[in-house]
């Protein structure tokens, strides 16, 4: 009896051990793979998401993209152009070295000397700095050339790297003297092979083979709450079918963005769960309002009808957003009335509802002088946004119902984006994630007048230009006071929604599916983070 009890105990202990070992590792299937392990190489969502698990930023974002302390415990403005950041106490890199203000300064300098990278916003951020000082081991003073209220938001994507990966003398923010760096600047290949992938994040890189997978291990020197999983494997599985079968077969614990049509299947299969979270990615159509002759719009009177605001409003009214969301998006989207979900910084508390009203749309068209409509080609991708091709078809049909003769030209993204940049379209689909989590991002790149040298209107392919809006916007992004700035952004947004240079459709929702016993805290920024996967007791 005693023997058998002992056996049982051993057995259950063994089983428990085995279960424990299994419970400590996690396999996640990614829909798109990061292009490098260097946090400053390529500013793309998969890269930012992966980087934020290994490297941390001064300021972080929570699941709803509100700013929270990261490596900086707190920050405040001393005056309009001076920011004080207090670093967290007791933070160590994965190699045990303590975090110092010099690491932050080194990171700033590196982004200015990162020749291998694909141009992103990092340089644009650091260029705004006049000086960076470190008066003590936990304080960082950043002086900006102009008032720069978005500094904390912009710092949420700049992973801090360790200054010991290069040879250097005393590190100071002196860009002309390479900030004291004497050796070669770190290269992307050394991050990929793990040599330089030393961060303060909850995980450290174990191996990265492009196309086959990324393995990370728990960083035992992590200063924050230790993550639940000892080792995590991220596998790139770009096709939704294999992601789903892999989940159902038990190969994966968590999968990123299963197809919306498969969610029902996941729901009906016992042993699996999913979470749907509205994201900040908005899908819209941008109208060519800048040219009298636009290539894909033809009206009887020879004008470009898209230049008339009544026509743009009519188009907006002709679209039944709720039906598109219900039928085409399987409910996994949110109809949009503005360019960032309600409630985020700078959005309108009560945006005018973009309601479906085909009768009024027809009336507006007639008023504008197009009672018989005009010819319009809708251009879009067919492999970039969720169901993009079908959405364009649906919008085209809605427009034909109010008398606009539409054609659809959907193409692969590698053809579409270069063409759009050359302004070869008249009415083109766009998608944007406001990664700063506030309203200025969309306005800056898509709405303000085209002025690339100022970093404004760089995606304004329709060449909409409203001097009043530009003025308000520029004032907003140099107003440090949050209440004031929010008011200005709301004004700019109100002008945009009145003029509709871009016609919003919906916000995509992100979906994560997982095996039983797990939960995932869905994130508005669409990041898949291992530390957000929790097991349910």
């Amino acid at each position: 009896m005693i023997v058998s009890r002992f056996c049982l105990a051993t057995l259950s202990a063994l089983l428990g051990l085995a279960a424990g070992a299994h419970a400590q590792s996690l396999t996640i299937a990614l829909a798109s793979e990061p292009t490098a392990m260097d946090p400053h190489y390529h500013q793309a969502t998969p890269n930012n998401a992966m980087a934020s698990q290994i490297f941390e930023t001064l300021v972080a974002q929570d699941a709803k993209m509100s700013l929270i302390p990261g490596l900086a415990a707190s920050w405040k403005t001393r005056d309009d152009t001076t920011w004080e950041f207090k670093l967290q106490q007791g933070v160590q890199f994965s190699n045990g070295q303590p975090l110092t203000p010099q690491d932050v300064i080194f990171t700033f300098c590196r982004t200015m000397n990162n020749e291998e990278s694909i141009a992103g916003s990092y340089k644009a951020i650091v260029q705004k700095f006049a000086d960076v000082q470190a008066p003590d081991a936990h304080t960082l003073i950043i002086k900006t050339r102009k008032p720069y209220p978005l500094l904390p938001n912009d710092l949420t994507r700049m992973g801090i790297i360790w200054n010991g990966i290069v040879e250097h003398g005393p590190i100071t923010f002196d860009l002309e003297k390479k900030c004291g760096v004497t050796g070669d600047w770190p290269r992307v290949a050394d991050f990929n092979n793990g040599k330089h992938a030393i961060g303060t994040g909850p995980y450290k890189l174990k191996s990265y083979v492009k196309g086959s997978g990324i393995e990370v291990e728990r960083n035992d020197n992590y200063w924050g709450e230790k993550p639940e999983w000892r080792s995590v494997k991220f596998l790139p599985v770009p096709n939704a079918g294999p992601r789903l079968t892999g989940l159902l077969a038990g190969d994966f614990d968590v999968v990123e963005s299963p197809a919306a049509r498969d969610v029902q299947r996941i729901k009906d299969t016992p042993g699996f769960g999913y979470v749907v979270t509205p994201s900040v990615r908005i899908v819209y159509f941008q109208a060519d309002v800048g040219r009298d002759n636009s290539p894909f719009v033809k009206a009887a009177n020879g004008k470009n009808p898209l230049q008339d605001v009544r026509v743009r409003r009519a188009i907006s009214m002709a679209i039944d957003r709720q039906t598109i969301v219900d039928r085409i998006m399987d409910g996994m989207a949110m109809p949009a009335n503005q360019f960032l979900p309600d409630g985020m910084f700078g959005t309108l508390p009560h945006p005018p509802q973009l309601t479906y009203d085909p009768a009024q749309a027809k009336k507006l068209l007639a008023e504008a002088g197009y009672p018989d409509g005009f010819e319009l080609t809708l251009s879009s991708t067919n492999d970039r946004y969720i169901n993009d091709g079908q959405i364009t078809q649906a919008v085209a049909q809605y427009l034909s119902r109010v008398g606009i003769k539409t054609k659809v030209d959907a193409m692969t993204r590698s053809v579409y984006f270069p063409k759009r940049a050359k302004r070869e379209f008249s009415f083109s689909m766009g998608g944007w994630s406001s990664e700063t989590g506030e309203a200025s991002s969309f306005l800056q790149y898509w709405v303000t007048s085209f002025a690339p040298e100022l970093g404004l209107g760089t995606s304004n392919y329709g060449r909409y230009s409203n001097p009043e809006l530009d003025r308000i916007f520029r004032q907003a992004v140099t107003t440090v006071d949050d209440t004031q700035r929010e008011k200005l952004l709301q004004q700019a947004l109100t002008l945009t929604l009145a003029d509709l240079p871009s016609i919003p459709l919906h916000f995509e929702s992100s979906i994560w599916a997982f095996r039983k016993g797990l939960t995932y805290e869905g994130r508005a920024d669409q990041y898949t983070l291992a530390s957000s996967v929790k097991s349910v007791p």
Partner: protein
């Protein structure tokens, strides 16, 4: 033999050159990769710097000559997207594809040829007819669908095999191989079968047709009249004679599976080269696409060479170099 090799080498250099021109200009014609790479948040200078670094500010012919000059020094360019040498990117994925294809081709031969032999020898009996009829399924069912069905059956319902990915690897001379581990085999078998099915059907039918044709030939009849044992007739007289078309097809299939097993790699999330090509085309990553196609051309050239040498070994009448008069 030396002359033959030399001639082939010169031929293949021209082929490679032609391929590089076609692919280089074709990818250029699709569009400007900068629009896919650079974020609208980048400053004008940063954007210009990236364009200059990738050489995209040069006229296309100049870009091509720069590429050619570097290629002659063994540098096929750096991936626009990943920032590392294109060849490194491809070579990293090669072992996975190679082992998948080797398993698939082995399956093709050890299943396809014997079944074809049986079908050809007994073509008027139910056994032969049955084999031939079933083989139609092998190449008429779409590859993608076959793969999904295999996964549903063996991974989701029965739970015997993993649905996707590559198993544990063992490093042999620095090359990670998964066919040396049990876990590796459990992962490789389904995609290999998926790749092999169509080829099994092809080889089977080719063998069966050859066998039934050869059976009516004079030399087979003569051997039979002479009293040669049936087994020896099949091995020495029939099989040897029909193998030439089979070797050709298997050779070509080997090449195309290595280069373009994209569908299977996608369905089974196999981390091979085929997926890399598709990704690179989507991202207009020209250096990778060009390097890939050139490498694949090289593989085809080598495979053809091996096939020709095998011909000579199989058929004494075949001479690699035409005798000079």
């Amino acid at each position: 033999m030396v002359l033959f090799t030399l001639r082939r080498l010169i031929q293949s250099l021209f082929v490679l050159l032609a391929v590089s021109v076609v692919v280089f200009f074709a990818v250029y014609a699709v569009g400007d990769p900068i629009e896919l790479l650079v974020s609208p948040e980048a400053t004008v200078e940063a954007r210009a710097a990236t364009i200059a670094r990738l050489g995209l500010d040069q006229p296309i012919w100049q870009q091509y000559f720069t590429f050619l000059e570097r290629a002659l020094h063994g540098d096929l360019g750096t991936s626009f997207v990943h920032g590392i040498p294109a060849i490194e990117l491809i070579v990293q994925r090669m072992p996975a594809t190679f082992e998948l294809v080797v398993v698939a081709i082995t399956l093709t031969c050890v299943i396809g040829i014997p079944l074809g032999l049986v079908a050809g020898l007994y073509r008027d009996r139910p056994l032969g007819r049955g084999i031939m009829a079933t083989s139609v399924l092998g190449f008429s069912l779409p590859n993608f669908w076959q793969g999904m069905m295999l996964i549903l059956l063996f991974a989701v319902w029965l739970g015997w095999l993993p649905a996707s990915g590559r198993g544990d690897t063992v490093s042999v001379l620095g090359v990670p191989l998964s066919i040396l581990t049990a876990d590796g085999w459990s992962h490789v078998i389904m995609p290999a079968v998926n790749l092999a099915l169509a080829n099994i059907a092809l080889v089977l039918r080719l063998t069966a047709t050859g066998v039934s044709e050869a059976q009516t030939q004079e030399y087979v009849k003569f051997a039979r009249a002479k009293g040669v044992k049936p087994g020896r007739i099949v091995r020495r007289h029939i099989l040897r004679n029909i193998l030439i078309p089979v070797v050709t097809v298997v050779g070509m299939e080997f090449g195309s599976l290595i280069a373009y097993s994209t569908i299977t790699e996608t369905v089974f999330a196999w981390p091979g080269m085929g997926k890399l090509l598709i990704d690179s085309v989507y991202q207009l990553d020209r250096p990778v696409v060009v390097a890939y196609v050139m490498l694949v051309t090289l593989i085809f050239v080598i495979v053809n060479f091996v096939v020709d040498v095998l011909y000579a070994a199989l058929d004494p009448r075949v001479q690699l170099v035409a005798p000079s008069h």
